[in-house]
């Protein structure tokens, strides 16, 4: 066992031989967008992301379905599964089975198995002093999903955020594989600061983030100002807020947004300073166009995240 339960990482990794390890992960959730086909795509992209975050390549997947047969037409389920399958095809993943149950609330996701070389496994551990932090997708999907629920999001924004969530982290992972990476995770339910906290705790280092460099969807800032932050953002802040320091010059809305839970968020990559610019250049050229270097690993203050 290379990565197990002892440290919460994105997926489990089990070594089969000297040059092959198995990565396993499972993820499912309730609908976040109205269109069943896109929901299927997003749920699949989200589940596949954990494999990419571990430095691996997804190979096979199984569908997990909870469906309210008495309230919904089966055609909806067919559209969800079609969306998921299209995303798996795009990722070069074979669907090998699945399981469905009747459920009061619709749920869909995947159990995914991938391969990785045992020496190339990327975990949340391993940041080094002076490392740069790179984020490959903009933040704000949680706020915008709340605005969609509230009926306050415009069609253009919905369109934009759906595409963003359905975008695989595969291209970003392919670029990342060309560089020596110290640590990696994907930004999901705990928000940027929640996931970054997991990377920082226990290292003896701290992190400084430059707020102006963090990509955030402009509509998310607008909607957050109207009080459309999801409850999850506050829970994340309650859990990890003590680790975060920010000066009075920063709008308190910003730290809240950095705790916004993301669906199918980007990769958060820790890389040596000497390689950071080339990594960023590669990412921007290969479809992860909104990637940014957002901060760096510092000696002091220890195990804190400072927003500047």
């Amino acid at each position: 066992m290379i990565v197990g339960l002892e440290r919460a990482d994105d997926a489990g990794v089990y070594k089969i031989s000297g040059d092959l390890a198995l990565i396993q992960t499972v993820d499912f959730f309730t609908p976040i967008v109205d269109d069943p086909y896109w929901f299927g795509q997003i749920a699949a992209a989200n589940a596949l992301s954990d494999i990419y975050a571990m430095g691996g390549e997804p190979k096979t997947a199984m569908n997990l379905v909870g469906f309210p047969l008495k309230q919904m037409d089966l055609s909806i389920l067919r559209r969800i599964l079609a969306g998921g399958l299209d995303k798996m095809k795009e990722a070069g993943v074979a669907l090998v089975g699945g399981h469905s149950i009747e459920d009061g609330e619709l749920k869909y996701g995947l159990s995914v198995t991938g391969f990785v070389h045992p020496k190339k496994v990327l975990t949340k551990r391993g940041m080094k002093l002076g490392d740069r932090l790179v984020l490959t997708k903009p933040l704000g999907t949680g706020v915008i999903n709340t605005a969609i629920k509230a009926g306050l999001a415009s069609t253009d924004v919905i369109d934009k955020v759906i595409r963003l969530m359905a975008t695989l982290n595969r291209d970003a992972a392919t670029v990342m594989a060309r560089f020596p990476i110290h640590a990696c995770t994907d930004v999901t339910g705990f928000g940027l600061l929640g996931h970054l906290a997991e990377m920082v705790v226990g290292t003896g280092y701290g992190v400084v983030l430059r707020v102006a460099d963090i990509p955030i969807l402009p509509e998310a800032i607008e909607y957050a100002g109207y009080g459309l932050l999801p409850a999850g953002a506050f829970k994340n802040r309650e859990f990890r807020g003590a680790l975060v320091e920010f000066s009075t010059g920063i709008d308190p809305l910003i730290p809240d947004l950095l705790f916004d839970p993301q669906t199918s968020g980007g990769l958060l990559i820790c890389i040596g300073e000497e390689n950071a610019d080339r990594l960023l250049d590669g990412l921007v050229k290969k479809n992860a166009t909104e990637s940014k270097i957002i901060g760096e690993v510092v000696a002091e203050p220890k195990e804190k995240i400072v927003l500047k």
């Binding site: 086909y37 709340t146 605005a147 629920k149 509230a150 009926g151 306050l152 999001a153 415009s154 069609t155 253009d156 369109d159 595409r163 607008e222 909607y223 957050a224 100002g225 109207y226 009080g227 459309l228 932050l229 999801p230 409850a231 953002a233 506050f234 829970k235 809305l253 809240d256």
Partner: protein
């Protein structure tokens, strides 16, 4: 003072309830009771965005936001609900796979195409995407008779997509003057999102 009891509701429902009272009843003083700190923060932010001064209180296990309209209340525009605004508009995608309309006389075909692009304006805001593939990409390069019309479309915010593979095939990548270079995935996604696809 208008009392709003939003206990037992999760985000974003307390904000929506407050919004309804503030907008429909024109209330200028409200007291909103919620049962989580998260809802309290959100309601506070909403009221402040609407020009209210707020104060936070605790009431037993519940959280309270008291909002009073200030003299200089400058109501910002809230995001438009989905039932209003452009959601009612159809999304029409026009895909041009050629730079001429019809077969037979080439000159007539080109004339018709120029006229077609110019007349597309009559679709108004329902025209949502204009996509050029194959020979159609030649309409977007320098020297095109409709270049000025396409640029005008783009200025009004219309999304013009031009197939990168096609530009590359004709060696026209450098000569494209208007629109965003795109790929098949974008085109297929646009087709799926569109209410109507017109193919020329």
């Amino acid at each position: 003072m208008k009392e709003i009891d939003a206990r037992g509701l999760s985000c974003p429902a307390p904000v929506l309830q407050t919004k309804a009272v503030v907008e429909q009843e024109k209330a200028d003083a409200v007291r909103v009771v919620v049962d989580t700190a998260a809802s309290q923060q959100n309601v506070k932010r909403f009221l402040e965005s609407q020009g209210f001064e707020t104060a936070l209180e605790k009431q037993g296990g519940d959280y309270v936001v008291v909002g009073k309209c200030t003299a200089a209340r400058q109501k910002k525009e809230t995001p438009k609900p989905q039932s209003e605004g452009n959601i009612e508009l159809k999304k029409i995608m026009v895909m041009c796979a050629t730079d001429r309309i019809g077969f037979g006389d080439e000159e007539l075909g080109l004339k018709l195409m120029v006229n077609f692009i110019r007349t597309l304006k009559e679709m108004g805001p329902e025209l949502w995407r204009l996509v050029f593939v194959n020979n159609g990409v030649k309409l977007t390069i320098d020297g095109s008779e409709v270049l000025a019309d396409l640029e005008e479309f783009e200025e009004t915010g219309l999304c013009i997509l031009v197939c990168g593979t096609c530009l590359d095939h004709f060696n026209l990548l450098e000569r494209k003057q208007v629109g965003e270079t795109t790929n098949m995935l974008d085109i297929v996604t646009a087709m799926q999102l569109a209410d109507k696809v017109i193919s020329i």
